[in-house]
Amino acid sequence: MTYQLETAQHPEKLRRVAIDPVSRVEGHGKVTILLDEQNKVHQVRLHIVEFRGFEKFIQGRPYWEVPVMVQRLCGICPVSHHLAASKALDVIVGAKKLTPAAEKLRRLMHYGQMLQSHALHFFHLCSPDLLFGFDSDVTKRNIVGVAAAHPEIAKRGVLLRRFGQEVIRVTAGKRVHGTGAVPGGMNKSLTIAERDELLKDIYHIVAWSRDAVRLIQKVHIQDPGLYNSFGIFRSNFMSIVGHNGDLDFYHGTLRARDDNGKLIFDGVDYQEYDRYIEEEVKSWSYMKFPYFKSLGKEHGWYKVGPLARVQNCNQISTPFAEHERKEFVDYAGGTPMHAPLAYHWTRMIEMLHAAEVIKELLHDDDLLSDNLMVEGERKMEGVGVIEAPRGTLFHHYRVDENDLITMANLIVSTTNNNQAMNEAVRHVAKRYLHGREVTEGLLNHIEVAIRAFDPCLSCATHALGKMPLAVELVDPEGQVIHSLSRS
């Protein structure tokens, strides 16, 4: 039903409502809704309006520049791009297996990023909706409002993120856009002082992460009617899983399941991702629409990210997060949970896991080792895949004999979720807007559905708090008949 809402039969006869830009998400996008005279919804689209061009302009550049250059795609999770590119280039320089120190330092950097990004998303961007209600007073529905009403929660959000950023700083040299990973390994290890500084804080970071899981679990369970159904759609899902099917953000093989949890493929070496995944281009968005080749465009789309990962893995290797995963799986009743708002719950389980892994790594002396680089037989092509905060991230490069990039293909996490986000907003539009007068609170419902996926719409820019939002109702002749705005 909602799939049909992608394109209206006679758009020229419909009024257009635009949410432009979508606020409290990373990057810039807009939603357009076409309504008839009875306010019935005929078309809903999430448009990604930015054009970046990274795949093109890195062609002709030396390959060792790429991990530092491509991370500029994003200011929130640059580490994901930095590491995915480094992993692809590891293949090219013949570094089949990194030194233990290099791999653990990269993991530390990545899990630090997972912690900071998840904290940012949950506390800064989404907690206002979850704590105050989707159509609560718009002047208080922001992080400043949270700080006033729940100062301890807001403070923890800030400090959790700060800790994650510090982990990145000591491994990459800077909190944002560092240089730690290089093809074949790392350029720095930790000093004892850097490690000890992080060890001072890690125990309460783990404790606060446990509290965050409890908080979202309580919010979710208190209103199952809303949280289990808001924007719900069924879909396939995909992630990488590590050794023995463990939840793993840094390395593993590709696993995909259908909406009932049945395996579509498993144990796939991501060097061969293009045998399993294809991308479709649509004229109305700069973001592509990936799908599983075996299922085709219409049935092969999927979701990625925390909700996919936590339900795709066999288990989580750290005790507190594994306990929380089991609670989540029990709550879902043994079948995959598809409710978009369950992303928040699983995201906090992942944040807890990241904190626990950081704690384990900080007790490993390999982090202090200077044995950081390996190399081997040079290859001309490599693929790097990582689980970024928002989902599976693919970097694929070809390099010529003179060391210059000749081809790049990036499938970023949010691209994998493109169709899924469109589905969610269509369900919400149908459920909440259909036949009703459009209000700011109702439009925020659309944004709440998008935010659940934590999209990074440009993988670069950052829209925090009260973004300017303008909504106009335009009649078929182009006359504005009703408008709402906030600034």
């Binding site: 060792w64 530092v68 990459a172 003179n402």
Partner: protein, 236 residues
């Protein structure tokens, strides 16, 4: 060293034949520069080291010190001109510090920081310059060339190879490789050449080692470029 001149109110000693730049550096006083290198005959082309001697502008790297002269260097007026020159160098080429492997080791970037440059100010030219990756060990990224001619002088005067030259005139001046094909692979250039190690920016680069030095340990992470003169003075 009994002769002296005055530089920004400070008495500087010098020996016969020394330039203002040489004497100032020996005394630990930094004068911004890009085309000057102590190992080579001065070129006087970048004009960043311009000072006022007895009220008249001159390049301090080429002007010999004279007893009793009064030199102004670190003044708001001269530094504003240096800043404008630096900004013009940035917009003439493609200097993308965020992804440049010389970031932190680059004299142009360090000089921009020293002069308090906050933006390029002028419109970017965005020239279309290809890289030369033909050599097995060295990459040439012409996008970053500031025409200091240090590689030209090093290859000609020290290596005896004449691998590099400046071609064209005025705004069209550009660095070329002396080979029929124009490719570095078709010259006898090697990594041991002096010319491989004098580039103040990020044109001549050893391949496959970019970003090997972590942030915090790069040349200008440890000290600003203005401290280089002090280091010379302390070595003496």
């Amino acid at each position: 060293m009994s002769q002296t001149f005055i530089l920004d109110g400070k008495t500087i000693s010098f020996a016969d034949g020394q330039t203002i730049m040489q004497a100032a550096t020996q005394a630990g006083v930094f004068i911004p520069h890009l085309c000057y290198h102590p190992d080579f005959k001065p070129h006087g082309s970048c004009k960043l080291c311009t000072v006022k001697v007895n009220g008249r502008q001159t390049a301090s790297c080429t002007m010999r010190a004279i007893a009793g002269m009064v030199v102004e260097s670190d003044t708001p007026e001269i530094n504003a001109e240096r800043l404008a020159l630096t900004q013009m160098l940035f917009v003439e080429g493609n200097h993308f510090c965020p992804s440049c492997e010389q970031s932190g080791n680059c004299q142009l970037q360090a000089t921009a920081y020293h002069l308090g440059m906050m933006s390029p100010h002028f419109d970017h030219f965005f020239p279309n310059r290809a890289v030369d990756a033909s050599h097995p060990d060295v990459l040439l990224d012409f996008n970053r060339c500031i025409l200091c001619s240090l590689c030209v002088r090093a290859s000609r005067d020290v290596d005896g190879k004449n691998v590099f030259a400046l071609s064209g005139r005025g705004i069209k001046t550009h660095l070329i490789v002396n080979a029929k094909s124009g490719q570095l692979a078709d010259t006898n250039f090697t990594l041991d050449d002096k010319a491989a190690h004098v580039c103040p920016v990020g044109v001549i680069l050893k391949k496959r080692r970019g970003f090997a030095v972590p942030i915090g340990e790069r040349t200008y992470d440890k000290q600003p470029i203005s401290a280089t003169a002090k280091a010379v003075a302390e070595e003496r």
